[in-house]
């Protein structure tokens, strides 16, 4: 058996994979149907959301229901930064926007980063006092924060334009942004999980008391997972805003958080690969199942569209997963480059050698 230097072999494989992805995005962005591109964008965004929530809920074991709040912060902060003053004037026709927001305009990329940092900051503010709480109580408090943010955004007309929301946002989001950000998120979280800090996070999930006794600073590490999770949620929120080109406070309701929870549970609390797969499937299904909600012809029968059927199906699926497969798709297992390499390349080699 050839003993190859692990690093270099997988490195070339990885480079090929990345080049493949880049080529794919290049082709897709140019020639795919707009509908397909939209789905792919949503896949990327849901991946970011799922992985960032999994970091908090799955790997650190902190049950947070506040993800939509972090998204909202990211979406609004970035929009307020990249919108032109003219666009702002048009939107804020009832209550004018306050200075200096009325005159600020910065490039999308910077607005993204600042949005992420703003969410991370709020993640710190939310996480810090709450991390003494366990289980249900933490869930409720994080949900409460998310709702408070939503209500605040609904009422602070001079900053967020209230329930009218922001419309006509420029469409900056494209596959480069979403897939790129998704890859960065997955890479960052994966590295975090596998290093010493990640071990500390997992130890907190396993047994907090023992973790503390082994010298793990509970507060620091719990806040760490919240801050990182919130950062990426903020970026996802910002990307979503520019994708759908309108934001309003009610987009970021508990409903949104719940969708991400579905993704994380179905994929497996504690598996990044699982989350990526389930996020992709979820994004695709959400769009595809729209057809269930509009009239269609099946076997020559006219079946009327049933609004809300989509979410009902998802709710049922979720209950089935929770009740029967609470490990989700992958449990805590991960796909690794090693596995992929062996599956794709070594098998072919064996076939060639006739074994």
């Amino acid at each position: 058996m050839k003993k190859v230097k692990k690093k270099s072999n997988y490195l070339s494989f990885k480079i090929i994979a990345i080049l493949g992805v880049i080529t794919f995005i290049f082709i897709a962005q140019r020639s795919f149907d707009a509908y397909v591109i939209r789905i792919l964008n949503l896949c990327g965004i849901y991946v970011i959301l799922g992985v960032s929530l999994n970091l908090i809920n799955g790997f650190t074991g902190q049950f947070s229901l506040g993800h939509a709040g972090f998204m909202a912060i990211g979406a609004y902060v970035s929009a307020l930064l990249y919108m032109s003053p003219e666009l702002k004037e048009v939107n804020y026709f009832i209550t004018p926007i306050i200075w200096p927001l009325s005159v600020i305009q910065i490039p999308f990329v910077f607005s993204l980063i600042i949005a992420g940092l703003a969410s991370a900051g709020v993640g710190f503010l939310v996480g810090a006092p709450c991390l003494r709480l366990k289980g249900d109580y933490l869930a409720i408090v994080t949900f409460g924060f998310s709702e408070i943010i939503r209500v605040l955004f609904c009422n602070l007309q001079s900053i967020t334009n209230g329930p009218l929301g922001l419309k006509g946002l420029p469409s900056y989001t494209n596959l480069w942004w979403t897939c790129g950000a998704a890859i960065v998120t997955v890479w960052f979280v994966k590295n975090l999980i596998n290093n010493s800090y990640g071990r500390a996070l997992k130890s907190i999930r396993e047994d907090e008391v023992a973790a503390e006794a082994m010298g793990v600073n509970l507060f620091y590490h719990k806040v760490l997972s919240f801050v990182v999770g919130a950062f990426f949620a903020g970026i996802a929120g910002a990307l979503l805003g520019s994708l759908v080109m309108t934001i309003d406070p009610n987009t970021f309701s508990f409903f949104m958080t719940f969708q991400i929870i579905i993704i994380v549970i179905v994929g497996g609390l504690g598996s990044i690969t699982g989350t990526v797969i389930s996020a992709t499937i979820f994004a695709i299904l959400m769009e595809v199942l729209r057809s269930v909600e509009s009239p269609m012809r099946l076997f020559g029968l006219n079946i009327p569209g049933i609004p809300g059927m989509r979410m009902l199906i998802f709710s049922i699926l979720l209950m089935i997963v929770i009740l029967f497969f609470h490990q989700g798709l992958m449990g805590t297992k991960e796909l690794s480059w090693k596995w992929l390499y062996h599956k794709l390349i070594r098998n072919r080699k064996e076939v060639k050698e006739g074994s």
Binding site: F188, N191, L192, N195, S196, Y197, R199, A200, K202, S203, E206, D207, V209, A210, A211, E212, A213, M214, G215, V216, N217, L218, L224, G270, T332
Partner: protein, 257 residues
């Protein structure tokens, strides 16, 4: 040299006084046994020393530094580690990971350093891995390093817990009933193991145990608790003949047996 001084510690939970006026002056290198009937407050003492509970009265000095009110992880960083009466391993983590968690508190690299796998972190990670493997060798678990901790048999889980505690580089090690559930053969192994690590890692050890063979066998000094009160202190011979101790364990009649 006094490594630990518990100065008249008392703790009340509501109306119940769980530990009353506990005094201990522990010298470096000692192997102290802490015994007493069930419910005497032994684990409570451990919880107070390690910072899980704050004493209602009294001060604790570790290495001549007052540690009252310090967090559990801070006290561990100062050099006090423990194992638990009901094993508390990280069941879904590998055996090696369990031990490596113990090394985390010594990590100097920042989070970003670690995420980007910069050279400083890589170096630390390799060192930690090596050290963890060595510790697993001490407890004969090195072949199982990739197994899930939860899947190990009971006796090996106990040893893993000790290895994990050793990873924190303690000066004082608190062992809570390490021999519980072990057969006589395993118990003998454990006794020599404790003495071995004490010498090798230059530890001071406090041992809670119900198995008298272990306590009388390896402890040079023994403290006896009953209903939270220290009823006796001395070497094994003294303790075995102490009437108060006999009364506490076996009841009044046994005293006159």
């Amino acid at each position: 040299m006094s490594i630990l001084k518990a100065d008249h510690i008392t703790i009340r939970f509501g109306g119940l006084i769980a530990v009353s006026d506990f005094y201990l002056n522990l010298k470096e290198g000692e192997l102290l046994g802490l015994i007493g009937p069930n419910g005497a407050g032994k684990t409570t003492v451990f919880n107070i020393l390690t910072g899980v509970y704050k004493p209602t009265k009294g001060k604790i000095y570790f290495n001549n530094q007052e540690i009252n009110g310090k967090r559990v992880d801070q006290i561990t960083a100062l050099g006090m580690a423990r194992t638990f009466q009901n094993i508390r391993l990280f069941t879904n983590l590998s055996v090696l990971d369990n031990v490596m968690v113990g090394c985390h508190l010594r990590l100097k690299s920042s989070v970003l350093n670690a995420v980007f796998y910069l050279p400083q972190y890589l170096q630390e990670e390799n060192n930690v891995r090596e050290e963890a493997k060595q510790l697993l060798k001490e407890v004969n678990l090195e072949k199982l390093e990739n197994n899930l901790a939860g899947g190990l048999p009971y006796g090996q889980q106990r040893k893993l817990e000790i290895a994990r505690a050793l990873a924190t580089h303690p000066r004082l090690l608190l062992l809570d009933e390490p021999a519980a559930g072990m057969n006589p053969h395993e118990t003998k192994d454990l006794m020599s193991f404790i003495q071995k690590i004490q010498e090798k890692f230059k530890l001071t050890i406090i041992l809670i145990e119900h198995d008298m063979k272990v306590v009388m066998g390896i402890c040079k000094r023994i403290l006896v608790l009953d209903y939270g009160i220290t009823i006796a202190e001395g070497n094994p011979v003294e303790i075995q003949h102490n009437p108060e101790v006999i009364k506490a364990y076996l009841g009044v009649e046994a005293q006159y047996a």
